[in-house]
């Protein structure tokens, strides 16, 4: 199927990323617009193809989460912000690998935005795997039902089409149990809990 190649202004992009049903096209647009530049930063700083792809994915996830929490206020252009986020996430990855290229003096933080993205990158480094670990403990059935309801905004009735439950009430009960289980798991991990809590109030 041929994909329609939409273009977005920064404001349109933010608007589309907030709305999950329209975000696919916006994400595709960001790949077309920014992957080349951001990946070349990685190559120029000791990274390889896989590193560039992995870091870009992390940049995308972090940026969308920030947009949805209302934490990107447009002080800089999206391009500038993504570049800075990409740089800081990569530097943290290099530090994690114990690489000399991550010498901090070379990458002094030059403005407020650098400080913000450096902080975000640090949090990501600390907790990125912890969320996945937690989700794995949740189990597939719970993961599916919670994603359908809280991420895709499906109704109980619609969820019945996806999952083998008898009726809406059964789905509702199951979803409550799953959310409580998720709550216990996340609360059990202080780092993860603190980071996620930061995203609560936009």
């Amino acid at each position: 199927m041929a994909l329609r190649k939409e273009t977005f202004t920064d404001a349109e992009l933010i608007d589309s990323l907030v709305n999950e049903t329209r975000s696919d096209a916006a994400i595709r647009f960001m790949y077309r617009e920014h992957f080349e530049l951001l990946s070349r930063y990685i190559y120029n700083n000791s990274g390889n193809e896989q590193d560039a792809e992995d870091i870009f994915q992390e940049v995308m996830v972090a940026f969308i989460n920030l947009i949805q929490a209302g934490k990107f206020r447009g002080e800089s252009s999206i391009k500038t912000f993504l570049f800075s986020l990409n740089k800081n996430i990569w530097l943290n990855e290099l530090k994690r690998r114990g690489r000399a290229e991550a010498r901090e003096e070379k990458y002094e933080k030059q403005n407020v935005q650098e400080v913000i993205t450096a902080d975000i990158a640090m949090e990501l480094t600390q907790t990125k795997s912890e969320l996945m670990k937690t989700i794995n403990e949740l189990g597939d059935a719970c993961k599916k039902i919670l994603l359908l309801f809280y991420f895709e905004n499906r109704s109980m009735k619609e969820i019945l089409d996806y999952l083998p439950y008898e009726n809406e009430q059964v789905v509702r009960n199951k979803k409550s149990k799953c959310l409580k289980k998720m709550e216990e798991l996340v609360r059990g991990n202080q780092n993860l809990y603190r980071q996620l809590k930061n995203y609560l109030h936009g």
């Binding site: 994909l3 999950e20 975000s23 696919d24 994400i27 595709r28 790949y31 077309r32 992957f35 080349e36 530049l37 990946s39 070349r40 930063y41 190559y43 120029n44 390889n48 193809e49 792809e53 870009f56 994915q57 995308m60 996830v61 969308i64 989460n65 949805q68 800089s76 252009s77 391009k79 500038t80 993504l82 570049f83 800075s84 070379k106 030059q110 403005n111 935005q113 969320l131 996945m132 937690t134 989700i135 993961k143 919670l146 994603l147 309801f149 991420f151 895709e152 409550s176 959310l179 409580k180 998720m182 709550e183 996340v186 609360r187 993860l192 809990y193 996620l196 809590k197 995203y199 609560l200």
Partner: protein, 249 residues
């Protein structure tokens, strides 16, 4: 325990927007005074946040696979970087060259365009759009081998894309044919392509080498003042200051 369970149910229905107006107002009243209940609500909100983060990560992962395919086919292949050995060899060779030239120039003069050029020059990292099963272009091969005359000769025989043009410009620069380098970098810097920022950087260095400081300076300032410029970290305050001094001489 029963109360906690009951509260959880109530709070989840509140989060899901399923309470009647009366139930909602009553709960909000309780939340204003009951810290424990407030905390319980926050815990549940954080859990919902975790679900949303997971959903975003999965969505990006799905789009990622599709987009990599599209971008790689657009770029005639996937992006690969030079092998580490080649990169280190080039880096060592470049360092030795810079050191050699640097020492020689230091003996001649403290501040000169040659010295500044050599301090500022970073060679282009030929990590480029090519599939692992595809060959590098003639120009790329020759550039890697530092066969700059051959790179220039290739111009007559191949259909060049933006990266090839950049390499030809660099070959001219390596051969001290700055006028030709300037012409190529100007065209690249003034058109939309993936190597525009590289061209701006090398154009500023070409001007510097050609002692056209007043043309080099605005480009250097632009690079320095563009946070997302690939070469921003190479154009330091010191480089700009010294170019200004040369301009004032």
């Amino acid at each position: 325990m029963d109360e906690t369970l009951h509260n959880d149910e109530l709070l989840i229905r509140y989060l899901d927007g399923e309470l009647s107006v009366g139930e909602k107002l009553a709960l909000e009243e309780r939340l204003r005074t009951d810290n424990a209940l407030q905390e319980q609500l926050t815990h549940l909100r954080v859990a919902v946040q975790a679900v949303k983060h997971l959903g975003t990560a999965e969505k990006v992962q799905a789009v990622h696979a599709e987009m990599m395919k599209e971008l790689k086919s657009n770029n005639k292949g996937k992006v690969v970087s030079f092998s580490k050995l080649v990169r280190y060899t080039m880096a060592v060779a470049a360092s030795i060259l810079v050191l050699f030239v640097g020492v020689r120039l230091y003996l001649n003069a403290q501040l000169s365009p040659e010295k500044l050029y050599n301090e500022s020059f970073v060679d282009f990292n030929v990590s480029a759009a090519r599939g692992s099963n595809e060959n590098f272009s003639e120009i790329e091969n020759h550039y890697q081998q530092k066969a700059y005359e051959a790179v220039i000769a290739d111009v007559r025989s191949v259909n060049m894309d933006a990266k090839d043009s950049l390499l030809v410009g660099l070959a001219y620069l390596h051969q001290n044919r700055t006028a030709q380098a300037v012409g190529i970098f100007q065209r690249l810097a003034n058109s939309a392509n993936n190597f525009q920022q590289d061209a701006e950087f090398y154009l500023s260095l070409s001007y510097l080498k050609n002692k056209e400081y007043s043309k080099a300076l605005p480009l250097m300032e632009k690079i320095k003042n563009t946070p997302s410029h690939l070469y921003r970290e190479y154009v330091t305050e010191k480089v700009i200051e010294e170019t200004k001094k040369l301009n004032d001489k």
